[in-house]
């Protein structure tokens, strides 16, 4: 689950990482009231930065960050930014912060490293960068149990000195506490700035929460529904019902049990001259209801000419699938279907479907070929 910048910064602040003072507005009418109030409380002052809150990267390049020197300018910019879409995603709100005097920008992040099988620090003495294309990157394995000297070694490796070293190390420690306490996949501060007065502040933040851990993190209860920007409506629905759907541009709807099998089937479809409309994994041991839901979601896509259902029953029972299929066909008798069912309880499934008019393929390649030819 990707979080908005303002949510990431709230979490930073909760864990003691300094962030700029700010106010947030959801519509243009609010700006004058909220900004005046913040200025009155001496929390903020002009010039200010206005930043689109959007679940997409590349915000700066897309013009989603602007500065305003007075209220008049702030109002005009707010009006414009709130209407901005970035990579097709809508701006949810604007975060308004003071424009800080920056002496140095850094990059600091924690993520899980596949190869080392553990969390790592990624840092750079250049901030505001795209870390993948930077040359000046320090990475450091994070030991378990954690030790805070690792953060000092990291700050040292960034060539920091004096107070800056101590403060950046302290922030790295806190970022790790946040990372493990909230089960994150990514906690990124980019840039982490050192101001001209020597403060170290998280100027922008990105957090990705691990989806598998959501149910043990009460902090995020109810958040998932509000963080599905960038998914199609059918993908959103699937995610909330525990199905894995990824939509593509083609016209053959693909449903299998097991992610590898879906991908393998998609690739064969493409290889045989067809175009997959989606990836849909019903998972292991799918029930009749779940299978039916999967069929309905794919059916709902108007681009889909034919559905290719490929089930290799191991932990999944073919008869459950057959029951779902019977119900589905009754509901949508005109739907073009190619079905391949093999494995556990296959006999039962064949019996259930014997009067359905559905041909059951036992060979995968034949099924794929049939689906492709029906899609043209």
């Amino acid at each position: 689950m990707n979080l908005y910048e303002y949510e990431a910064k709230e979490m930073f602040a909760n864990f003691g990482i300094p962030v700029p003072p700010s106010t947030r507005i959801s519509n243009a009418a609010e700006i004058k009231i909220k900004l005046s109030a913040a200025i009155k409380e001496a929390k903020l002052d002009f010039p200010v930065t206005l930043k689109c809150q959007v679940l997409s990267g590349g915000r700066g390049k897309a013009g989603g960050i602007k500065f305003a020197k007075d209220m008049c300018e702030a109002e005009a910019i707010a009006d414009q930014l709130l209407k901005l879409k970035i990579n097709d995603l809508p701006t949810q709100s604007l975060l308004v912060e003071p424009k800080l005097a920056i002496a140095q920008e850094l990059y600091l992040a924690i993520t899980l490293d596949r190869n080392q099988g553990c969390a790592i620090f990624i840092a750079s003495a250049e901030g505001g960068i795209e870390i993948e294309s930077s040359h000046n990157v320090v990475t450091s394995r994070i030991p378990y149990p954690y030790h805070s000297y690792v953060a000092r070694d990291l700050a040292f490796a960034l060539d920091l000195k004096g107070n800056a070293l101590v403060k950046v190390a302290d922030i790295a420690n806190k970022l790790y506490q946040l990372f493990v306490s909230r089960d994150l996949d990514l906690a990124e501060i980019n840039p982490l700035i050192i101001t001209k007065s020597g403060e170290v502040v998280a100027l922008d933040g990105k957090i990705i929460v691990n989806d598998d851990a959501l149910d043990r993190q009460p902090y995020f209860k109810g958040w998932l529904e509000k963080h599905l920007d960038g998914l199609t409506s059918r993908e959103q629905k699937s995610k909330l019902t525990g199905l894995n759907l990824v939509e593509l541009k083609g016209n053959i709807g693909i449903i299998c049990n097991g992610a590898g099998l879906v991908m393998g089937t998609m690739d064969m479809v493409k290889d045989f001259g067809g175009e997959p409309a989606n990836f849909l994994d019903v998972g292991g041991g799918a029930s009749r209801d779940k299978t039916l839901a999967a069929l309905e979601i794919v059916h709902d896509n108007p681009d889909v000419k034919v559905i290719l259902l490929n089930i290799l029953g191991g932990i999944t029972a073919c008869d459950e699938i057959a029951h779902a299929l019977t119900e589905f066909i009754k509901k949508y008798p005109k739907r073009q279907m190619v079905v391949r069912l093999q494995g556990n309880n296959q006999d039962l499934a064949e019996q259930i479907l014997s009067n359905s008019g559905i041909k059951l393929f036992s060979d995968l390649e034949e099924a794929v070929q049939e689906a492709v030819s029906r899609s043209h």
Partner: protein, 292 residues
């Protein structure tokens, strides 16, 4: 064969749950030596005739088990696996899907400290056909023979095993390493075991998009594997930035593409098949060179 055989004594952690009980039965039917189940608070009960113990320690003391297959819910999996390690279990097969990766990372470290081996999490398990099945693989699709298989996937592996079996190409052992980014055994460890195993004559490697394990396996094959390897890589049509079911199956920032993996494998002399059936065809050619 590698890792497991007809003498492997297996305990089932979570045997009293629905999934645990179902697969305890299937594993017993296959002939696996399931010697005990473990569920805290259910010691003294039995599941399909298998005695249940409260702790792994008690189960190991009574039965001398050497492997454990874990069916407990994702947030309890780390605890269960740690318990097995502390009790001296040297092979863990972690079926559980949805284990938070920070838990897996801790477990992987402990597995190393205990000099044990972990298959999974989120994996179908391991089978040495006609001897020992640990996990959820459908045993009927496999038969004994000379092909070693290692795979990140579940059902895709069954598909390919089925194609091999239909072509009369039996398997020495098949290891499903699981689709999570952080996990126990990866290609290289399994490849090394197959290379040393006299019964394995050829190897099938099944990969998918995401990460760089296939590229590293290719490099490892180039350096260390003399036996013929045929590969299958799923996800050529996967769009970038989208997670394809498995937590690890994602192309991000241009990394982890099927293309990159296929090229790496090709350059290591590995033939990459386009369909499961092609895997069988390639292997037939390799294993019966006189016939063509």
């Amino acid at each position: 064969m590698i890792l497991v055989n007809k003498n492997t004594k297996v305990i089932v952690q979570g045997a009293t749950g629905k999934m645990g009980a179902t697969h305890t039965k299937l594993m017993l039917n296959y002939g696996t030596k399931i010697v005990a189940g473990v569920t805290p608070g259910k010691g003294g009960e039995n599941v399909h005739g298998v005695p249940i113990y409260d702790t792994v320690k008690a189960a190991v003391e009574k039965t001398g088990a050497d492997a454990s297959v874990i069916f407990v819910p994702p947030y309890l999996a780390y605890d269960a696996a740690s318990e097995a390690l502390a009790a001296g279990i040297k092979l863990l097969v972690l079926i559980t899907e949805g284990m938070p990766p920070l838990d897996t990372a801790k477990l992987v470290q402990e597995v190393k400290e205990h000099k044990a081996q972990l298959i999974g999490p989120n994996c179908p398990g391991i089978i040495t056909p006609e001897q020992c099945l640990i996990g959820i693989l459908p045993g009927s699709l496999f038969k004994a023979g000379p092909v070693g298989m290692v795979s990140k996937s579940g059902t895709l592996t069954y598909e390919i095993a089925l194609a091999l079996t239909k072509s009369n190409l039996g398997q020495s052992t098949c290891v499903g390493t699981g689709g999570d980014p952080i996990k126990g055994l990866d290609y290289q460890e399994v490849l090394a075991l197959f290379e040393k195993d006299p019964e394995t004559k050829a190897i099938v490697l099944i990969g998918e998009i995401g990460g760089s394990a296939e590229e590293e396996a290719a490099e490892f094959i180039k350096q260390n594997i003399k036996k013929p390897v045929v590969a299958f890589i799923a996800g050529q049509t996967a769009p970038p930035g989208k997670r394809m079911g498995h937590a690890g199956a994602i192309v991000s920032a241009g990394k982890g593409t099927a293309q990159s993996k296929i090229e790496a494998l090709n350059s290591a002399g590995v033939k990459v098949a386009k369909t499961p059936k092609q895997v069988a065809i390639c292997l037939s050619e390799i294993l019966s060179p006189v016939s063509h």
